[in-house]
Amino acid sequence: MANGQADQATKLMQQGKFHEAEMVLRNLAAQHPRDASVHSILGAALAQQGELVSAVREYRASLALDAHQPSVEVLLGMSEFKQGHFREAVTALKIAKAALPTDARSTLLLGMSYFGLHQYKDAVPYLQSASKADPGNVELRGVLAQGCLWSHQFDCAMAEFRGILAVNPDATQAHMLLAQALDAMGKTDEAIEELDATASSSPSEPLVHFELGYLFYKKDDYDKAILELRREIKNNPGYAQSYLYLGDIALKQDDVATAEPLLKKAIALESDLRGAYLDLGVIYAQRSKNTAALDAFKRAVKLDPTQPDAHYRLGRLYTALGQKENARLEFDKTKSLHSKAEDSLIEKVSGNASDAPK
């Protein structure tokens, strides 16, 4: 790198003049296209300006010229993470982490990237390390707690939520997620108590009544569920799942006239609610509105083809319509999905039988 221009670029970067630095670095890059450091610094200048796509291009150009730059991998990972490219971020950050095992940034970013990928079990160890290094970061504890909750590590979730609440007893969402953790541990009544208290102190908090409604729904206490879901709709009229659950309850109670508009409303608010299509399909099939029923079941299948129930219902409807071949295809999918689940269990249980305690 030409020293004079490099010094100038560095000085501009330090002064926060990233655009000017970028101009100098682009000039340098044109003169020295095989200089890895020019590309990496140019990437940093671009990243500082929010030009993350260009930044990533420069980081990758730099790494193509010199693959052993863990700090550039961290920067690349960060730019990918900021764009929501979690998988690419994980790839870069894992390389960085291998070379710089104590690097706090890559630890935190790895945890957050896995979290973004919904790979909560993978996220938790990194988030735990990052949280240990930064114990005052309540927001990070919140993410960690959710990672624990959604990876079914309930003891960890409870500890983190309780830790957050010790610092901030009014953290409403922490109360709500604590309730989710309690429910997931089979302590549904305790979860209801937790949510009841939250609803009393923060009656307008979005989703608190929905969460309560859901728990009552789960306990088949439909009267209370309806009450809470209606409260949620009053607070939060745009939340589709409240309508979905109300519709499902109505259908369970054979009140099709009430169920149908609720389910339609749910879909109008959120067009990919599989359960609403499934329930509507049932209603249409009952009324012999076969075309509408077919459409609804097909939509449910399309939204999640891995669930056997929609395939089964579709198959039954095809059978009723005399479309035997279509029915057979759907039943084959139903059987295949059940078999897959059973095989997986057999592998888990009997495949590891030799490890069982004697």
Partner: protein
């Protein structure tokens, strides 16, 4: 601070599919709460059940696995029982299966044959009959496989299944080897079994289900993984997670031997199942016997008879493989009967707790519909259901249902008293409008008393014109529930004897017409849970004094008999007419009253 997922887990739970059912245990359940009970009908129930087992002499316990702990699933499933008339004296005898213990046999643990003394008591004739055998017996099917006029017995085991030929002199001979049914491969766990004349050649063939491919040395111990737990308590593992075996069909060659036709008949194609009870009947009114198998935690199987020596498994197509919402259920026992009086055979199947039993209404050509909720069956989810039967207990002309129950996890009772080992039986009284009403205490102490029950059989052991029950209780003597009906309702019993068809008439169907109604019943060689009912079909007639009968014989002949008087047994011999006889038990009751 908190990042909320776009799809909350709430939706996931709402929409969880069969593959994500409550499977942190070895048995599938839908984790359902009972449907809301309707207003009680207030109608009196005129049948009362009293357990008379002890006074009748049924005193030997049915040993089956550990009492307080069950390490292996083998100890939990239990066995069946048969009502049969092995000596053709017109009185039902009782054959009770038995198991053993993991740590070795218990003295006196054997299957037992109790001969009816015609006075309300029985004599244990096991030894004399040559039926002493200790082992893990599962299911029984009874019929005259060699058409010699006497009922034979086939029993499935964990281990070698056994065929006993009735010699006609009060004794039986083990003819398993001679019949070609000896098996020397890895141990199988035989489960449901039924005689069936699938090819209508007049010889009874044999369908044999297997439950789990159980390799004792490889099965994880209680608590070894999440599937060997129930609410956090370590319990025996399975069936989920254990390898699946397949079912077999043996063709009767008419010379006392059977040939394995599992592959050529198409039965082998359905190999994804933990099969339990098997029933054979003409569900499609085609004149050919189909086979329905209750499958535990896997889709139940409906083998539709192809009328050419083959079967096609059409459980999904027929609507009897899964629940209405497309979920697997823990199928255990099966009842077959025409609850809605439309001349077609409906199916009732029992399941695990936190799930309902299922009632499938036979809609004819379009298959079956799950009417569990519409019929009110969904009010009960507390108990694990096993044996079950349709029978008109109060003779009012409508088929009621009975279910026996019992837990599989004795270890769970102490930490969770809401899951006791012993639980009551219950009835569903048929209200006649497509709906049922659950009765427990109202049907007498014999129903309300709690036991850990499994198989049960239905029949009129005291020949007094109503349907009684015999029930297997694990590690206790059986229950013998005497039914005492206090109404004047009429009834009619029909015994079929095949000539061209198999002599036991297994697979035949009778339509009884009375008071503008028509009721179908089938002659079957297994139903309930691993059990065999009285082969005499019992029709309650309500206030009707007469009924018309239409017999659809297994081999296709249809015969009609008009204006048959009530309160009697009619024996119909294929192509040779009908013989009427009063029931001797009823005569005695009448004479003792006068």
């Amino acid at each position: 601070m908190i990042h909320r997922e776009r799809f909350s887990r709430r939706e996931f739970l709402l929409l969880s599919s069969a593959s994500s059912l409550a499977m942190a245990q070895g048995v599938t359940t839908r984790d359902l709460k009972p449907q809301r009970r309707g207003k009680a009908s207030g109608l009196p129930f005129l049948a009362k059940f009293t357990d008379v087992a002890e006074q009748a002499g049924l005193v030997h316990p049915v040993i089956y696995g550990g009492v307080h702990n069950k390490t292996y699933i083998l100890e939990t499933v239990g066995c069946g029982v048969a009502f049969l008339d092995y000596d053709n004296d017109g009185w039902l005898d009782i054959f009770v299966l038995c198991g053993t213990r993991i740590d070795g046999p218990v003295p006196g643990a054997t299957n037992r044959l109790y001969k009816n003394n015609r006075d309300g008591t029985f004599t244990d004739v096991t030894e004399k009959a040559g039926l002493v055998r200790t082992g893990w017996a599962s299911a029984v099917t009874v019929a005259d496989y060699d058409n010699n006029g006497f009922d034979d017995i086939f029993i499935t085991y964990y281990g070698q299944n056994v065929l006993y030929r009735n010699n006609g002199d009060g004794t039986f001979t083990d003819v398993t080897r001679k019949a070609g049914l000896l098996y020397d491969g890895p141990t199988r766990w035989g489960s449901g079994c039924t005689f069936v004349d699938y090819d209508r050649d007049g010889n009874l063939d044999l369908f044999v289900a297997n439950y789990v491919d159980l390799q004792m040395e490889r099965i994880p111990k209680p608590g070894a993984n999440p599937f060997c737990n129930f609410h956090g308590v370590g319990v025996n593992c399975g069936p989920k997670g254990l390898p699946m075996p397949r079912n077999y069909l043996y063709r009767n060659q008419g010379d006392g031997t059977f040939r394995d036709v599992t592959s050529e008949s198409g039965i082998a194609k359905a190999d994804r199942t933990y099969s339990m009870t098997a029933v054979a009947a003409d569900f499609g009114n085609t004149g050919w016997s189909d086979i329905y198998v209750a499958s535990d935690s896997t889709p139940s199987l409906f083998f539709k008879n192809g009328r050419n020596g083959t079967f096609v498994e059409e459980g999904h197509q027929s609507g009897v493989a899964l629940s209405d919402d497309g979920k697997e259920q823990a199928g255990m026992g099966i009842a077959v009967g025409d609850y809605n009086l439309d001349g077609k055979l409906d199916i009732f199947k029992t399941h695990f707790l936190d799930d309902t039993s299922v009632l499938y209404r036979n809609d004819g050509d379009t298959g079956f519909s799950d009417v569990t909720t519409a019929s009110g069956i969904g009010v009960e989810t507390r108990y694990i259901g096993w044996g079950a039967g349709f029978a008109d207990f109060d003779n009012n002309g409508l088929l009621d249902l009975a279910v026996v129950t019992g837990s599989v996890y004795p270890e769970v009772e102490a930490p969770f008293p809401k899951y006791p080992l012993k639980t009551p039986r219950y009835l569903f009284r048929n209200l006649g409008d497509g709906k049922f009403e659950q009765l427990i205490e109202e049907a007498g102490r014999g129903i309300a008393d709690a036991h850990c029950s499994r198989g049960c059989a239905f029949g009129d052991f005291d020949n007094d014109g109503d349907v009684d029950m015999v029930i297997i209780n694990l590690n206790e003597p059986p229950s013998l529930l005497r039914n005492d009906v206090s109404s004047e309702s009429k009834w009619l019993k029909v015994l079929l004897v095949g000539t061209k068809s198999n002599r036991s008439a297994i697979g035949s169907r009778v339509l009884a017409r009375y008071g503008g109604k028509v009721q179908a019943q089938a002659v079957m060689a297994q139903s309930s849970f691993y059990s065999v009912n009285d082969r005499r079909l019992h029709f309650g007639l309500g206030a009707n004094l007469r009924a018309d009968l239409e017999v659809h014989w297994t081999n296709g002949l249809v015969e009609r008999f008009a204006n048959i008087e009530c309160n009697q047994l009619v024996t119909i011999t294929e192509g040779r007419g009908l013989v009427k006889s009063a029931l001797s038990g009823l005569q005695k009751k009448t004479s003792s009253q006068t």
